[in-house]
Symmetry: D2
Subunit: 284 residues, 4 copies
């Protein structure tokens, strides 16, 4: 499947500022970037880029001088060949058997206070079947209880805030689902992504759970087809997978995001949560 | 029904201290104090007492000098004739029709942050029948989700903390139920009480909801018979109905509480939540 | 001093709704309402009004039918003769000597979690002189640390939230100051008011502390002259002194507030926090 | 300097359980483990161990069968040759110049909600000199405001909780200092350690700030000499550097910790916060 993704971002720097962006698709064996354009104006702006070993997150650090109107244009054509299987065969892995590099995804994090939700999670989900089905039960639980509502949350909103308020956006849905998974002993991480079919178009936030030796994608908002997601960043929560961090005196002036299936998927039929979708067919 | 209630409290004052106690049963048309003993040592300790108009809470202010080992002995024989009816006939009152003096019990309070739970409460209880049955549904919901566990909470624990942690004591059960009622537009208040049958004996915390023109008793812990509760204090939450407040340098050294049915009730059969129990047959 | 105050409020009811307003000036021996106009359209709207004994808060309950565009016009001419003295003579009252009806103002409340701030308050203010000067120190501390910033807080924001975030509006300043006073053993309450000189005009929130047998006004924002404040409501925090509560399906469509000194004060010179100002010369 | 460190830990497994321990000293160019003993009973207990690339944290995973009384004995002799310099020469690094691998230590984490403290941190520390002196000012601020008090905090206590409550233990001091550093744009991380001289002996928690291209040690509790600390684990907060994680049905039954200077330091004179101490003389 081929997908065209991209964004246009604008910032105004009233003083010296440093932007750290994570907007480029990750490159994985099953997510290939066929071609990519990145244009930053004004020309001559000092930038650096790097890819983080382990996560594969691609960062761009941009140094803006005082008075600069900065504009970032990104576009990429991505080929996806996700690993899609029957969820019935995706089983849970005991903490005793988890690979060491996966264990940190059981820990609580800034926006996913799983340590405060252990009793609640056990009580709500102890009756559900283990494995992929249990994480699907978590997604359904979150989807039933949280209203998708723009403006209902703030940058400091956490999973427990969302559970109490009953409303949020994609990032909040992902945080609550991740926190519940960890509280159940299932490693989980936050994924920022491009998703075709969002109305209005925007960056999306979903999550992955580690089951049967692999990371599987889930979307508690059920707004996008899982097998057409173009992953950008991963982290334990949004604090570790932000699209943009601003240091210094810059303010956003505009943002447009797009994701379009070029071939290979009828978005309307999208896989959503009925099949198990992973980025890799192999161990992490 | 006659009930014997009482307590022995000890405090050590390392400096000058003022204690404010609310341990004496309220006097209402349906809760009569037949006889009462109050003894404070050392003799000559300066005390004052008053009853608050409106709530009927009876306070005792005790002034302890530095170095005093204070001991308070209280005992009362109380006759209860609660108003007990079929809950099916106890209907809900719209905010438009609530008496002015009841409206403050819709407001959020220190330990009952009903303003943070409106969406959650509506979603969980919109399908339950209105009136007494809805408050019973709230009690059942709390009882199903909260584990009674000594030490699980602290003096600063609120209703939302308890909802998240999934554990607490009688005060926490009452706070969460009160918060949910208010979030549903049902006035609710916190009641401190003597309750026969508690193991181990202790002060108890229950709550009242205002329905059909009257305040009805509920116990989300289901640990005590509602029609044998001897009410002590009422308030919007535990901050307004504490047994003891200490100002200055005193520390508790001991507490023993007792409540015993003298005649008129087989505790084992207690009414619990199956009948509607009120202190009064008339308007508030 | 004569002050003209008033407001125009609009609401649209998409379904049946009940509004409870507390917008009319309190009537006290030192705050006399000389004349007052209240007009509610559409004509024939069902309303009730009452004054709460003890607080003197004046409430208006308005019943709006579905589809109604409700408009409330209020105007009053008020004569103030506040009790103004040298703050040096206003001393602190020990908990042991507080009148019973004042004690509830030592308790923590929904937005003033004084129970969480005791150690911090003792540490910050133990070196300040007791009495009126200590509460002025609290005001200065809050004013130094909190930036007045519209949009920095939400209806659920509490005193501890404000202390951490370092920004808020008048209501947040008042909550934090009240919480610190109570943590210091000084009874304090929230006051909603009309204040001449605010830019832009709006309802104002200040607070009172109980010192030397009387309630004294303080404004931690330092935005209005204390001796020209027209008090509307009082409560332990904003949950108990809201201008408007909405039950049912109504949304605000507009608000304009005005407060104008007619005679007796040069607003520019206003008393602010340099003199001690009380509503009464007698005990509470 | 040579230091002898060790611990004895006991656990009782009532069902199958997995323990993940991080109790062994890290091995770095300036912290050499000269000899080390690790004994786990019962004999034959299944264990695995690994060292995390990047952090150097050494983990031990122990699988306990139901009914096992597990006992872990660890002892190591460690040689320290810390890099100690005059703090005046240790300057601050702008976000624009930070190495990519250091940037995550600017992000908020579970127990260090730096995103909630930005305005407060700027206001409190904008007047202090940049660099090592600013972090020392943070340590002093925390030390002045937080009382060291066992039992004042819980496993879920965060930096903002500690700031409000005004009391905590070493872990809470470290969390608050780390959160303030990050809010000031200074990368900071949590360090678990052995520390000679603690009364009573216990594991210790300190922190590091990234300044002038290196990580420098700080101890906001001022309880241990910085140049005699034996580092065990590092992470963004205690969630990422726990001594012990329990999965399944095991409970701790005992813990004894020891750290003793064998040669090279008079503990009483310890460096504390007057000199700048780093583990490495080179870049991270």
């Amino acid at each position: 499947m081929k997908i065209l993704v991209g964004c246009d971002l604008g910032y105004q720097a009233s003083g010296p500022a440093t932007l750290i962006l994570n907007i480029q698709p990750a490159e994985t064996p099953r997510q290939r970037v066929l071609r990519e354009t990145l244009a930053i104006t004004p020309e001559g702006t000092r930038t650096e880029s790097w890819t983080v070993p382990g996560t594969g997150n691609r960062y761009l650090r941009i140094h803006a001088e005082a008075g600069t109107a900065l504009s970032i244009h990104h576009e990429a054509e991505v080929e996806l060949s996700p690993h899609v299987v029957d969820p019935a065969g995706v089983s849970q892995t005991a903490p005793a058997e988890l690979p060491p590099e996966v264990l940190p995804h059981l820990w609580p994090s800034r926006f996913c206070e799983s340590d405060r939700l252990e009793r609640l999670a056990q009580r709500e989900f102890c009756g559900t079947p283990e494995g992929h089905a249990r994480v699907t039960a978590v997604c359904n639980w979150v989807n039933d209880r949280i209203t998708y509502l723009r403006g209902a949350s703030a940058p400091t909103t956490t999973a427990t805030d969302t559970l109490l308020s009953g409303a949020g956006v994609c990032r909040d849905f992902a945080h609550l689902a991740v926190a519940l998974c960890r509280a159940l002993g299932i490693p989980a991480r936050f994924i920022s992504a491009h998703a075709p079919g969002l109305v209005p178009p925007d960056f999306h936030a979903v999550f992955e759970a580690f089951l049967g030796g692999k990371w599987w994608l889930f979307d508690a908002t059920r707004q996008a087809p899982l097998d057409a997601l173009v992953r950008i960043g991963q982290g334990r929560d949004a604090a570790e997978a932000a699209f943009a961090e601003i240091h210094g005196a810059a303010t956003p002036t505009g943002m447009a995001v797009r994701a379009e299936v070029l071939e290979g998927l009828d978005v309307a039929r999208g896989a959503r949560t009925t099949l198990a979708v992973a980025d890799a067919a192999e161990a992490p």
